[in-house]
Amino acid sequence: METAIHTSEAKTNYLNADYSIKSWLLTTDHKRIAILYLISITLFFFLGGLFAMLIRLELLTPAGDLVLDDTYNKLFTMHGIVMIFLFLIPSVPSVFGNFLVPMMVGAKDLAFPKLNLASWYIFMAGACFILYSILTGGVDTGWTFYTPYSTTYSNTNVITAGLGVFIIGFSSILTGLNFIVTVHRMRAPGLTWSRLPLFIWAHYATSVIMVLGTPVLAITLVLVVLERLFHFGIFDAKMGGDPLLFQHLFWFYSHPAVYIMILPSMGVITEVIACFSRKRIFGYNFVAMSSIGIAVLGFLVWAHHMFVAGISTYAALIFSLLSFFVAIPSAVKVFNWTATLYKGSITFETPMLYAFAFIGLFTIGGLTGIFLASIGVDLHVHDTYFVVAHFHYIMVGGGVTGFMCALHFWWPKITGKMYPEAFAKLSAIMVFIGFNLTFFPQFLLGYLGMPRRYHAYPPEFQVLNVLSTAGASILAVGFLMPMIYFAWSLQYGKDAGPNPYRAAGLEWMTASPPPTFNFAETPEVTWEAYNYDQIDAPDHGIDKGVEVAG
């Protein structure tokens, strides 16, 4: 192992190969593109967080006293658009998928490196449109752009924001396409489908959704823009059009998009749980197929967002039933993670803390999703804070927790440095406590009848709202701390070595940071995924990979 560290230091890696700005902006190295994404989406995360803090501050008191109602509408809209399209959708796939998919399949790069760079530029171009729409007055339609408000009545920057989301969609499509082709065509010799890490299966399923769903959102937004510009009337009841058609087309993408935000995180959690319980993942085939199952079922449940919008009772019943089905593959994952933990040699490093948080929070978010899929309960809590709490448990409790988990787990691989474990654990605990304090009271608020998207509320709701705002402040500190200690670790962190966690997987068998083409020579895979029994065997050691690292 020591020789490996020594040789990796002597060698050039993807970070120190070239320091010029041009070499970053024109790079086709998937690892550098991942870093470009990481920097951009981190900025957008804090921008979206700023909007969230303003929302929580406004809701500290019952009266609408901090911002005007119009401003409040823009705040929750911009919070939604920035967090969903600029952070959550690209978060795990574009950063960690980009970095790890080629390494995990033993390839030198993604199948289409130039297309990969193009997708980052497309993402940034779309982001510029969205930022421009924010700077010139914002949008107030909600992130869902519901018609006819968005097409006819809103006098805010719907066109610029809509075009921004349209453009970003293509970045997502190209990333998904790149992943699918890479997994099919670029796997190292011996790496059969059933030997792939489950992170790859999760990203494969995500990519299928990106490729099949995003074009529909694209054309829907084109129609909204055309309608706004030329008064086409396709979605305008006044002109004979049907606003419900917009909702159908929008949710056909945007419901599966929820799985774009959660599936990659599930892949992350699977890797981490196997590593820190030193066991092969329980029921590999079931976990792999549950990812595909979620992707397929995800396309069949969109109208559960429209139970009260005026769809027929029969349609509602069928979509309700299909929505319950999504619980099956989701539960398969949760049960298999817990079964993996059973009798494992569990240690509590920071990524594992996030993984535990994920299991708990995702379970709460998923179960409340079943409440909402039952039509009767949905009628009661529709458009209340119950819904807000539910999807934040999935998207923040699941998606962002998975992102933080991945960031800690692969930070040593990406940078070659260890972060300070004590601070990281502290921040993970703060995120967990802050998150629950922010969003659990919102379940109660919603159940008691507080509607979403209002800047004022009756005084009896204040206690729970104060709790929620207090939680949001803790959450903010929990998210700011990693910024500081990760930056600190770049300079002062301990050298990580190729494999600080003794983890399984091809990405750990090369130097940290990896060389530009990932492996000195293409690895040949002769073992199953998560072969922790072999890695931990006394005669084996960890150094199988050092030969590959060269």
Partner: protein, 235 residues
């Protein structure tokens, strides 16, 4: 631009040497590279099906709800021009296939001729489409801008406006794809003139060919759905 490629540009290379220059660093061999780009292109076409699918779904839903208006709108279409354009596009698909075939045989001049023919047919299609659009404008059939529709029949004119909205959205998106295709053909013509292609390496020609056939195929569906489907009501 790859430095060695720039320096050898304009020189005539033996075929095997073009092949080596065109192998990207992350592939083991040209075979893997070609299989990869072909798979990627097919996958991209799947996303295109979903893209047009949103509009086809809207078309079908409104056709069911507003049948009479759909018949009225459809009957104003210039079937002759639409049929000419269909023939033009089918011919262009043939010339595209011939271009791919010649590129695989390494016949550079023949490739150029067929690419040029495909491009000209594509531009012809766009020209005829422009004539049709002009006709719609003159007859006040452009929704929002100057819509005024009076023909015999039992329908709500606002619903005919929706028919024309979808007509313009669908044919407009199709025309945009044709324009992008024309750009790709121009790029191929230049690359072909610079001797980029050989019997070993010609995937760009083949990939653009796939794209071109796809755009052609979309029109094969648009023509009957927009022009022909209500024609029998005349007789």
């Amino acid at each position: 631009m790859h430095p060695t490629m720039a320096s050898t540009r304009g020189l005539k290379l033996p075929d095997s040497e073009t092949a080596v220059h065109n192998l990207k660093h992350h592939f083991a061999d040209l075979e893997q590279q070609k299989a990869t780009s072909t798979f990627g292109m097919w996958l991209f076409l799947v996303t295109e099906i979903m893209f047009f699918g949103g509009m086809f779904a809207s078309y079908l839903i409104y056709r069911l709800s507003y049948y009479n208006a759909w018949v009225a709108g459809s009957q104003t279409m210039e079937i002759k021009l639409g049929a000419i354009n269909t023939a033009v596009l089918i011919c262009s698909s043939l010339t595209m296939v011939m271009a791919v075939h010649s590129a695989k045989l390494g016949k550079r001049k023949l490739t150029a001729i067929f690419l040029l023919l495909t491009l000209l047919l594509g531009l012809t299609f766009l020209g005829v489409k422009a004539v049709e659009y002009h006709g719609h404008w003159v007859h006040h059939e452009v929704p929002g801008a100057n819509f005024h529709f009076e023909h015999e029949g039992n329908y709500d004119p606002r619903q005919v406006s929706i028919f024309f909205s979808l007509y313009f959205a669908m044919t407009g998106m199709h025309a945009l794809h044709m324009i992008i295709g024309a750009g790709l053909l121009t790029w191929l013509l230049i690359a072909n003139a610079r001797r980029r292609f050989s019997p070993e390496y010609n995937s760009p020609v083949e990939m653009v060919g796939l794209y071109w056939h796809f755009v052609d195929l979309v029109w094969i569906y648009l023509f009957p759905l927009l022009y022909l489907i209500s024609h029998h009501h005349n007789g």
